[in-house]
Symmetry: C2
Subunit: 121 residues, 2 copies
């Protein structure tokens, strides 16, 4: 039976990389949840985005895992924000994840016979 071709899904490519992205953004300074959404959009030039339903539970999990810590930033006349800071454990986790990501990506490039330095056609 003929079926429609599976769409290529960014969500699937994102899978397994969300923690890495979060840690990488937080490495450059404490940020609150909503700000991370903005920062990711900015750095990726709108190619990538987290859905709120992805981001917030993930932040909570990562705090449970002690990769990040949070504190409420309450200011007069402003909505309270929960600001997240990367921990030492988080830094180490980031290093490990970057290594794995890099190794995986280079293996992918090798297998498919693509050169990472060439511009996309």
């Amino acid at each position: 039976m003929k079926k429609r071709t599976q769409d290529i899904s960014i969500s699937d490519l994102l899978r397994g990389n969300t923690r890495t992205l979060l840690l990488a953004i937080l490495k450059d300074g404490p940020t609150h949840g909503y700000g991370i959404l903005y920062e990711l959009e900015r750095r990726s030039e709108k190619m990538l985005e987290f859905k709120q339903a992805t981001l917030y539970p993930l932040l909570h999990d990562m705090e449970d895992e002690e990769l990040i810590v949070s504190e409420w930033d309450v200011r007069e006349g402003e909505r309270p924000r929960r600001v997240y800071t990367i921990t030492d454990k988080g830094q180490k986790e980031l290093e490990k994840r970057l290594e794995t990501f890099h190794e995986f990506s280079m293996t992918m490039y090798r297998i498919v016979g693509l050169n990472p330095n060439e511009r996309a056609r």
Copy 2:
């Protein structure tokens, strides 16, 4: 509550890249299922592997999607093998997928501040 850190999972990184890998391998010539497993292991130097429960259903789906075609290769005194060949549609799909993969990967590198040309530490 403290939780154990999520392990970095190759399965998750693989997600969304399996069709791309399959098509890339079949692009270099018709191959039977079990042979694809071997070829992937060889090209990735054992970093990547498909589980059989991933491979076979995927091959069937991709045949339904007309990205590949199969025929039984029956030989005297040998177990029958189902040999898969990439179609024109599959070739085009591969191109699209490679473009998306490349774009995604380069975006990842940019966001995490890693240089794809540097060796992993």
